[in-house]
Subunit: 190 residues, 4 copies
């Protein structure tokens, strides 16, 4: 079955995001899937392959979702806010994946750079565009820090129960307030 391979990814993701990568053993994964250790090596030739493939997979997925959201040709504001919402909706609907991506990021910076479709790059690009259009209130590097940092924390605080409310609403609010924080008010003409 093609299924087993996917199951391994699913369970590995859960465990990695809960306990950490090094803290999760091949045995843990095998047990969670309901197979034995050896079987895993039919599908992946090392633990590291699972680790890396998961990151790549979800990076690309989030990247594409965000990319898609940018295609809607409306105002800058709507493009930005839609993208932020897409980002957060992905995080809320794939908490394991999102949490895992952060953990991976922290411990494997070098490997991160090898990944092509990095959500960070899209965020970076969109903010760069706003800057070029002269509608950014603050320096783009700071804007990037504010956006990425806030997104991560909103996700985290929601999963910790600090931020409450429906997913969609949280996403909308966050997009709104980030936009307000970044953009020079010009009477709504952007």
């Amino acid at each position: 079955m093609v299924r087993t391979r996917d199951l391994i990814l699913v369970e590995a993701l859960k465990l990695f995001s809960e306990k950490g990568i090094k803290e999760t053993t091949i045995r843990d994964i095998a047990r969670a899937v309901g197979i034995t250790e050896g079987a895993i090596y039919r599908h992946f030739h090392s633990k590291d392959q699972i680790v890396y493939e998961l990151f790549e997979k979800y990076s690309a997925e989030l990247y594409e979702i965000m990319e898609e959201s940018l295609k809607e040709k409306t105002s800058d504001e709507m493009r930005f806010r839609t993208m932020i919402e897409a980002f957060l909706n992905f995080a809320f609907n794939n908490p394991d994946a999102f949490r895992y991506m952060n953990i991976f990021h922290y411990l494997r910076e070098k490997q991160v750079r090898r990944v092509k479709k990095l959500p960070f790059n899209l965020l970076s690009k969109v903010i760069g565009d706003l800057e070029e259009k002269g509608i950014l209130k603050i320096e783009p590097e700071y804007a990037l820090a504010m956006v990425t940092g806030t997104l991560e924390r909103v996700f985290l605080y929601r999963s910790m129960g600090i931020i409450k409310g429906r997913k969609k609403v949280i996403a909308k609010k966050t997009a709104q307030l980030l936009w307000n924080s970044l953009i020079e008010y010009n009477g709504g003409k952007n």
Copy 2:
């Protein structure tokens, strides 16, 4: 020597922040200090004690620096901005410690809760105060997410070379823009 104990903490911190906690072995630490593995156990009874003690130590240190910064009785704005600057200056001057604290946080949420002097608590309290005074533009949970997230990312992007400039200037800019993002403009009367 009283020195060895401190040396162990120093080298462990470096390694933990570079490679991660589990990825750093007692042997790594011993080599960095220039002693043998066994010797470490005269000073700490387990690797975990080192891990925890480091977190506690730097949490308390940052906490106290922030607390101190709050004592200056001036305007709300100055209190807030001074605290943010104190936070970032600490991070910039103790990059290993700050990076380590984030790693620890991600993997050891349960242990984090046992720590008394948590910088997060102070940030939380200050934002709560602003809320009570009615000068917060956004909901306090979101404000907290924005502040903590931005601080972490500004530190990260500076250490990655994305954000450039002198430490003090970065800290000032960040404090300024966070204040602006959080606060209802009222003609400068806060």
Copy 3:
């Protein structure tokens, strides 16, 4: 193979009874079995598990042998003597196990109490019964001391070559003399 697990128990028992528990290393056991240390941990999750399981196993075995011997409904004397003989025959045929049980007993009193099928309990009960029937010449606690002590020493002295003779004969003689020492002579009417 199901075999390996048993082999580990067999070799561990030998080594424990020869050199002591703490004095026997996992490596010793692994070598004796012809595997590597790590392999042991597929079958037992700790050295302590081996240690405890061995005690439990042989305690239960001896207990059941003694219990069985008591089922033969004959005179008190025959029941007692048969049980003593069963006890010694077990010891003579499983010298490692018996020696091990004594070592374990000495060093791990607390764990001993957790074991359900303790031969001691059966000896205790049988002597209690004799006491209730009023045919015991001496106080039951002393009788118990005499019986257990003598059994242990007869085993020991035989294995040291001090006591000679065929197993069966030694067992019979011991049973006889213990009975005589415990029981009020009443013309053979018990």
Copy 4:
């Protein structure tokens, strides 16, 4: 001070008898004495020296007490019973030493043989004498097993609270019943 050396022996004995020899570390002993590890090596050149010296010391002590008790020229019965009582009184008054001797015995049979003044030898000799005089009811090897075994167990059961009563009384009773068990009744003419 000569004192420290003795203190080390005292504390080592306590710990060995409580936890076992291997289970007791030099550090444990040092702490109990109130000195540091290195200091112990001023007085003993190895842990093993402590272990062996303790056994030798208390073996000799018990041996001499028993020897002394034999000097009183009275009847065989009184000699035997006095010796048994001396043995038990020693055990009751030096429970750590007695318990330790048994542990040592179990794990270090080879070293035991090197010791000259072994209480076992005296017991053996006295029983041999009774045999030669033809007043032994049972074979001397069995008599020896019964005597040594019973003594050990009476001590053990008393320390476990199974056998109750005043030390002296227990010793007297034990001596009496062992004599009765060993000796052919001949109308009290021994």
